[in-house]
């Protein structure tokens, strides 16, 4: 696996795909949150890889990556608080119990 842009892109796409399927298929809410985090990490890898290999001056990519990391953390906090609220009101954090609102 040569140390060049393509490898990193492949890794990030794989990670992104894993995260996406995590969100779509896992039953457990927290697992879905983890899936979203994985997708964001894939983006971070992407940014850093582009900054290293192809961007004229790498700092924008790395700054962008830092921002994404910060926001991912905020997202996790908000997500978990909402999952907590769901648990309090429904008593379970499985996606199958979240089907009342329809029509």
């Amino acid at each position: 696996m040569a140390d060049d842009l393509n490898t990193y892109l492949i890794i990030s796409c794989a990670l992104f795909a894993i995260g996406l399927f995590g969100v779509l298929l896992r039953r457990n809410l927290v697992a879905m949150l983890i899936g979203v985090e994985l997708m964001l990490n894939a983006v971070i890898i992407n940014l850093v890889a582009f900054a290293k290999f192809s961007a004229p001056e790498p700092v924008t990519g790395q700054v962008f990556a830092l921002f994404v990391i910060g926001i991912a953390a905020a997202e996790a906090a908000v997500g978990l608080s909402i999952v907590l609220a769901v648990h309090k009101s429904r008593g379970s954090i499985s996606v199958d119990d979240l089907q009342e609102l329809a029509g």
Partner: protein, 610 residues
């Protein structure tokens, strides 16, 4: 007073009375009646003045009424011998009938409405007669139809009268379709419908024969509607539901004669195509025969006179179709006289006997009403064509004219005049010489004087009219000898034979007492066939029940079934679609995301393909 002024009075005065009636009907009924009589007098005077000082080449003046590029209509007057003569007939008869109606309608609460509508009729009739533009004739033609609808349905509380009025209007409307189609076809060739332009175009015969025949037949259809010719004649006997003055003025003397007048006016057009002329002649003969046979078996007095009017109208058309304007028109004038007399005297009889049935009148009244009896006798004698009387003088000219058109028509005409004599005298014998007459004495009311006065005047007029043939011909611009009776010719002889045969048979059947059933009763099948008016009325009833009602049901079916259902269907379908769309939102968040990302993927692929 210029001719134009007289014409304005003739048409304007009655119209003013009609509007006065519309506005002030309830407040002062007597005033409306007075006004109406006054206007009738003015109209009669105006028509006679126009006829007397008519300049040599006639007088036309018109003002544009509705102008468009393709075609324009003008309102005006065209005074010729023919139109002024007809106007005089209308004016005089209208005056007499109005005077008669004063007595007839004495105790009717809606008197004002009657006189007002009668004046409307006068305006419309004179509108037809004096018009210079066929479009104006058509307009007046429709107005006359409206007036007849209102007058027949005057006692609209009686369902029969309302039904008769509707039938009359719709049947004449069928005829008007043909008239309108004819006019519309003419307009597509000429810019406007002025009578002079039409006649010039006919003389120049620039149109191809097929076109002229088509126009002739269309106009004939209109005439058949208005002048109650076969097959559009069944409304006239039903129109007897109206008051008797209406029957006498409209449905014998003037309105039904409008069709004949139009034929006389546009005679060159009809005669220009050989086919139309023979067709018209054949139609007239056939209708005359049909009407005469039905009149022979009819039991109601007014209906007998109605069928007789149809038959006499066909005689006029025969004269005109055979080519002689004088014969046809002279018969129109004399017929107007004696038929109006017959109807008015019938009115007296019906007032006295409170029923229209001949046998009942014979039993109840008979000769106890002297003036009515006098009117009936003079009328019937004139009607039957007794030599020297009005009927004979004009019918003789007609028979003479038809004689040249071939034996078939002539023999038909002769047979009809024989039948005419038969039913005329049948009427007299049944009404006046009924053996078991209980003598109930008539109580002459004050109003009766008006009616009897008019009947006497008319009787005198009927006697005199016969001899005015010569100066009428001169007035029409034809030579006097056109109206000369060839006393010694074979035609007169045949007519005499027909008269004697008819009168004799009538005397044999009804004159001598006995069961007075009439010779027709001997053949029950034929009797029933004649009584039903040769089944024409039944045909029209089935046509309206099956044809029109069927079409209506079909239309309703299409409307409710097809169109409405599709419209409501689309509405309901969209709601069902709505339900489907809403169910897509079934609550599972992972399904939402998969749909979203799936569509996104297809979008990306599409981008790739583009």
């Amino acid at each position: 007073m210029t001719l134009n002024a007289w014409a304005d009075i003739a048409i304007g005065a009655p119209l003013a009375v009609f509007f006065a009636m519309l506005l002030g009907m309830r407040a002062w009924p007597r005033a409306v009646v007075g006004l109406s009589l006054l206007s009738a007098l003015a109209v009669a005077l105006a028509t006679w003045m126009m006829a007397l000082n008519l300049p040599e080449g006639g007088f036309t003046s018109s003002v544009p009424w509705a102008v468009t590029d393709d075609f324009s209509v003008s309102f005006g007057y065209r005074l010729t011998g023919l139109s002024t003569a007809m106007a005089c007939v209308v004016g005089t008869i209208h005056l007499l009938v109005q005077v008669y109606s004063v007595g007839y309608m004495a105790d009717d609460p809606h008197k004002a409405r009657f006189f007002g509508t009668l004046s409307l009729f006068a305006t419309a009739m004179l509108g037809i007669v004096l018009s210079a533009d066929l479009a104006q004739t058509f307009i007046a033609w429709e107005l006359v139809g409206l007036a007849s609808y209102l007058l027949i349905g005057f006692w609209n509380a009686k369902p029969a009268a309302a039904q008769a009025a509707k039938k009359a209007f719709i049947m004449t409307r069928f005829g008007d379709l043909g008239l309108f189609a004819g006019l519309a076809l003419m307009v597509s060739r000429l810019g406007d419908l002025k009578i002079d332009t039409v006649l010039l175009a006919v003389e120049a015969n620039t149109w191809e024969p097929g076109f002229v025949t088509a126009i002739g037949l269309c106009l004939l259809c209109g005439i058949a509607g208005k002048s109650a010719q076969f097959p559009l004649h069944t409304w006239l006997p039903d129109a007897m539901e109206g008051p008797t003055p209406v029957s006498s003025l409209l449905h014998s003397a003037t309105m039904v004669a409008a069709g004949v007048y139009l034929f006389a006016l546009l005679q060159p057009l009809f005669l220009a195509s050989e086919f139309t002329a023979t067709f018209a002649l054949g139609l007239a003969v056939f209708t005359a025969l049909l009407a005469a046979t039905v009149a022979c078996v009819e039991t109601d007095m007014k209906r007998v006179l109605a069928w007789s009017s149809i038959s006499q109208l066909s005689f006029m058309l025969m004269g005109l179709a055979a080519g002689s304007q004088v014969a046809g028109f002279f018969h129109l004038v004399t017929h107007a006289g004696f038929k109006c007399l017959l109807f008015l005297s019938a009115g007296l009889f019906i007032h006295a006997a409170h029923t229209g049935d001949l046998l009942a009148i014979g039993r109840k009244v008979g000769r106890s009403a002297p003036v009515a009896a006098l009117g009936l006798v003079v009328g019937c004698v004139a009607l039957s064509g007794f030599p020297g009387f009005a009927g004979f003088m004009s019918k003789e000219l007609v028979l003479h004219a038809v004689h040249e058109q071939g034996m078939v028509f002539y023999s038909g005409a002769l047979l009809t005049s024989a039948l005419t004599a038969y039913y005329a005298f049948r009427l007299v014998f049944l009404a006046l010489f009924d053996p078991e007459r209980e003598s109930v004495e008539a109580h002459p009311s004050a109003a009766l004087k008006w009616q009897q006065g008019v009947v006497v005047i008319l009787a005198v007029l009927t006697l005199g009219i016969g001899w005015t043939g010569g100066d009428l011909a001169r007035h029409l611009g034809a030579s006097a000898d056109e109206a000369h009776i060839h006393w010694m010719s074979s035609g007169v002889a045949f007519a005499m034979v027909a008269l004697v045969l008819g009168a004799g048979l009538a005397f044999v059947d009804f004159g001598r007492g006995g069961e007075r059933a009439g010779s027709f009763a001997k053949f029950p099948a034929m009797h029933r066939f004649f009584a039903s008016g040769w089944g024409v009325d039944a045909f029209w009833r089935t046509f309206s029940d099956v044809g029109i009602a069927g079409l209506t049901r079909l239309a309703l079916l299409i409307d409710r079934g097809a169109i409405d259902r599709t419209v409501d269907g689309t509405g309901a379908a969209t709601k069902v679609l709505g339900g489907v769309a809403a169910r897509m939102q079934n609550g599972r968040v992972q399904l939402y995301l998969s749909i979203a990302l799936g569509l996104l993927a297809t979008g990306l692929l599409a981008l790739g393909a583009m």
